[in-house]
C-alpha cells in the first residue's frame, strides 16, 4: 500500500482555499451519488460512471506479526477477492439483474457510508482520493454484514462530471465473516 499522506490536500499551491473547498465538495458529491446508485440498486447507472480502464481490486488481508507486515496484503497478481476490469463488473451487474442470482434474490439491503474523504494526489485530469467506508448489508430477515475499510479511488474528470477509473478496497477484516461478497463496494 502506498504510504498514507497526512497532507490535507496536495492540490496545487496556486489553489486558494475556496477552490480547494469547491473541489472537495465536487468529489464528495460524486462519491455520495455513486454510493446512492448502488444502494438504490441502479447498477446500470452506476456502471455508466465506470471508465473503460477501471481496475476494481480487493486484496486478501491477513493477520501478521509486526515483523511480517509486508505480508499483510496480497500484492497485485496474487490471490484477491476482486481483481476486476470493466467487463468483469458489467458481468457482475448482468448477474445481479438475473432473477436467478440467488445470493441477491431476495435482494440485499445495503447502505454505503463514505467518510474521511481526502484528495491525496492530482495529476492531469485525474484525482486520487482516499476514504474510509462502511458497507452495511442486511439480508433475508436476520443476516447482517458489516464491511469496513479504506478505499483508494481514482476519479477522472470527464466533461463537467467524473468517471471512476480505479477502486482499490482494503478491508479492516482478515477472514471474511460473511456468506459471500455479492455486493459492490
Amino acid at each position: 500500500m502506498p504510504a498514507v499522506t497526512t497532507e490535507s490536500s496536495p492540490a496545487p499551491s496556486t489553489m486558494g482555499i475556496a477552490e480547494k473547498a469547491g473541489l472537495q465538495y465536487e468529489v464528495e458529491q460524486f462519491l455520495y451519488g455513486e454510493a446512492a446508485l448502488l444502494d438504490d440498486r441502479k447498477f446500470r447507472e452506476w456502471l455508466a460512471l465506470v471508465a473503460d480502464d477501471m481496475h476494481y481490486w480487493m486484496p486478501i488481508r491477513r493477520t501478521v506479526d509486526r515483523d511480517n507486515l509486508d505480508l499483510e496484503f496480497t500484492k497485485l497478481g496474487g490471490a484477491a477477492y476482486f481483481d476486476d476490469d470493466k467487463s468483469d463488473l458489467s458481468m457482475r451487474i448482468a448477474k445481479l439483474e438475473a432473477g436467478s442470482a440467488w445470493s441477491e434474490n431476495p435482494p440485499s439491503r445495503t447502505r454505503h457510508f463514505v467518510s474521511n474523504v481526502r484528495i491525496v494526489d492530482m495529476e492531469g485530469d485525474e484525482i486520487a482520493v482516499e476514504l474510509a467506508f462502511h458497507l452495511y448489508r442486511s439480508r433475508l430477515n436476520g443476516k447482517v454484514d458489516n464491511w469496513i475499510g479504506k478505499r483508494q479511488d481514482r476519479l477522472r474528470r470527464v466533461g463537467d462530471g467524473f468517471q471512476l477509473c480505479r477502486r482499490h478496497i482494503f478491508l479492516d477484516h482478515t477472514i471474511i465473516r460473511s456468506t459471500n461478497l455479492s455486493n459492490l463496494f
Binding site: V64, A98, W102
Partner: protein, 464 residues
C-alpha cells in the same frame, strides 16, 4: 438431538448406522446439527485422517510458517532449520496460550506471550523463564515440547498431517482414487502456490459443503445467473457424460469425463501439439474438440502414466476425504473447515503450473477469481443454500424427514478396466455423495484405525 443415547449422552454404533440408509438412499438430517455427532466427527474423522496443510512453496525458507487446522485443533505448519516441515499444535504446554497469532509469517522460534516459554521451530522447548529461580531447575523440559502431529508427509509437495500414529501412510490413505485426485493438480508439471488464501465463514455444516462439491445437479439451477451473465455456458456447466470413481476411506472423484474415443484422439497428439492447444483461449480450445466442446487444458502424456487409463479421463471434482476439494481445473484446493455444527470456514488455495506463460497464468487466474471464493460468480450463490439446509435440520418435525440421495441409486454398473481401475460412467448422479456418507458412517463407527481398516468398505463393484 438424537433421542436414543447411552447413559452418558453418547451415541453408539447402531445409532450411527441408522443415520445413513444406503439401500433407500436417504440420510438422517440430524447429522448436520447434532452436537454429539459433531464431537464424534472431530475425534473419529478429523483427528484420525490425513488433513491437507499447505503446499511446500508456501513455506520455502526455514522459519516460514502457515497456520491451519486439524478439526478444531489449530496447527503451525513450519519449516525448521533443517528444512523439514513440522506440524505442531499451536498451544503452549504451560497454560495453553496460542504461540502464533498470525496466519502466516516467518519466525526464529516460538515465544509464548503469556510467560515466555520459548520453543524451537521443531517444537522443542528451549527455554523457560525462571528455570533456576522459580522452578529450582526441577522442570523436565524434554517432556514439555510442543505436541507434534503423529505423521507428516507430502504428495508431490502438497503437505498433509495426521494426529493419529496408527494411521496408514499417506500413500495408502489416499489409495488409488486419492492419488489420481492429487495427480490432477500436477498433471501440467510442478506447481507453485499463488500468494494468498481466500477465507470466509458460512453458517452451514461442513458436510453439506462437501456434499455440494460432487453436485452437478445444482449447477444449472443455483448458478444459472452466471450463465445468463455470460460467464459460463450451460452445456459445460452440466455435462451429460459423467464419471465417478469411488475410493477406500471415502475419497471420490465425480463430474465430467473424457470418453474413450475422445481420449484416443488426444493420445494421438504429441505433448508439443497439446501445449499449442492449451495455449489457446477456452473458446478456441473448445473448437478443437467440437463434439464435446472440451475447454479444459489437455493433460500431457506423462499424466496418463501417472493417473492410469481411466483416471486420465476423469475431469470431475476429487475430494480427499474428509474435506479437501480439488477444484477449478485442479488449480485450487478448497477446505471445508468445521467450526461447530453450524459453521464452516471455506478456504481457497491456488496453484499455478511453473511452466505457464504469463498469458496462461493470467487467463487461469481470471477464470479462478471469477468462479470461486466468496465473490465468485458461481460460489456467491452456494452459501445460502447450504446455510438454509443446515438450519432446517433443527426443525423438530422437519428433521424427522430424511434427505433424498436417490439419484441413480441401483441403476449403474461399476466398470473395471483391464488395468484394474474402476469407475461408473453415467449421467448426473449422486453416487459420490452416497459413498461419502457411507464412508463417513464407517469412520464414526470404528473406535480406532485398526477397526476402521477392518470394517471400511472396499471400493464398490457390480451394480450400484
Amino acid at each position: 438431538m438424537l433421542e436414543t443415547r447411552g447413559l452418558d449422552g453418547s451415541i453408539d454404533e447402531d445409532m450411527i448406522s441408522a443415520l445413513i440408509d444406503g439401500e433407500q438412499g436417504t440420510i438422517d438430517r440430524r447429522i448436520y446439527s447434532d452436537p454429539e455427532i459433531y464431537k464424534l466427527e472431530l475425534q473419529r474423522i478429523f483427528a484420525r485422517a490425513w488433513n491437507f496443510m499447505c503446499h511446500e512453496s508456501q513455506i520455502p525458507n526455514p522459519g516460514d510458517y502457515f497456520i491451519n487446522y486439524i478439526g478444531e485443533d489449530q496447527v503451525i505448519v513450519v519449516r525448521d532449520e533443517n528444512g523439514t516441515v513440522q506440524v505442531l499444535l499451536n498451544t503452549c504446554r504451560h497454560r495453553g496460550n496460542a504461540l502464533c497469532r498470525a496466519e502466516q509469517g516467518n519466525a526464529k522460534s516460538f515465544v509464548c506471550s503469556y510467560h515466555g516459554w520459548n520453543y524451537g521451530l521443531d517444537g522443542t522447548l528451549l527455554n523457560v523463564p525462571g528455570e533456576t529461580h522459580f522452578y529450582r531447575d526441577r522442570i523436565d523440559k524434554a517432556a514439555w515440547s510442543l505436541v507434534k502431529a503423529a505423521q507428516v508427509d507430502h504428495y508431490k509437495g502438497f503437505y498433509f498431517a495426521t494426529l493419529d500414529p496408527s494411521a496408514p501412510s499417506l500413500h495408502d490413505y489416499l489409495g488409488e482414487v486419492g492419488r489420481i485426485g492429487m495427480e490432477t493438480m500436477t498433471a501440467q508439471g510442478e506447481v507453485v502456490a499463488v500468494d494468498g488464501v481466500q477465507k470466509n465463514v458460512i453458517d452451514c455444516n461442513w458436510k453439506i459443503a462437501v456434499d455440494n462439491l460432487f453436485d452437478w445437479y445444482h449447477v444449472r439451477i443455483s448458478h444459472g445467473s452466471a450463465a445468463k451473465a455470460g460467464f459460463v455456458n450451460l452445456r459445460m456447466m452440466m455435462p451429460m457424460e459423467q464419471m465417478v470413481m469411488l475410493g477406500e476411506y471415502g475419497h471420490a472423484i465425480g463430474g465430467p469425463m473424457l470418453s474413450e474415443a475422445h481420449q484416443a484422439e488426444i493420445d494421438k497428439l504429441s505433448d508439443g501439439e497439446r501445449a499449442e492447444i492449451n495455449a489457446l483461449s477456452d473458446e478456441e480450445r473448445a473448437k478443437w474438440s467440437p463434439r464435446i466442446g472440451e475447454r479444459r487444458p489437455l493433460r500431457p502424456k506423462a499424466a496418463a502414466e501417472a493417473m492410469g487409463p481411466v483416471g486420465v479421463r476423469a475431469t470431475g471434482h476429487p475430494n480427499i476425504f474428509p474435506n479437501s476439494w480439488i477444484s477449478t481445473r485442479a488449480m485450487q484446493i478448497s477446505l471445508r473447515l468445521p467450526k461447530g455444527p453450524f459453521e464452516t470456514e471455506v478456504w481457497w488455495f491456488t496453484f499455478m503450473p511453473k511452466k505457464y506463460s504469463e498469458a496462461e497464468r493470467r487467463a487461469a487466474m481470471k477464470f479462478i477469481r471469477l468462479s470461486f471464493g466468496p465473490a465468485g460468480l458461481l460460489e456467491q450463490d452456494d452459501g445460502e443454500n447450504w446455510s438454509q439446509s443446515t438450519h432446517a435440520s433443527q426443525g423438530v418435525v422437519g428433521q424427522t424427514y430424511p434427505h433424498n440421495l436417490q439419484m441413480g441409486l441401483g441403476q449403474d454398473e461399476v466398470l473395471e478396466d483391464p488395468s484394474g481401475q474402476k469407475r461408473i460412467e453415467t449421467h448426473v448422479n449422486e453416487h459420490a455423495q452416497r459413498w461419502t456418507y457411507k464412508c463417513w458412517a464407517e469412520w464414526l463407527r470404528a473406535k480406532d484405525w485398526d477397526e476402521l481398516k477392518k470394517t471400511r468398505s472396499p471400493s464398490p463393484t457390480g451394480r450400484i
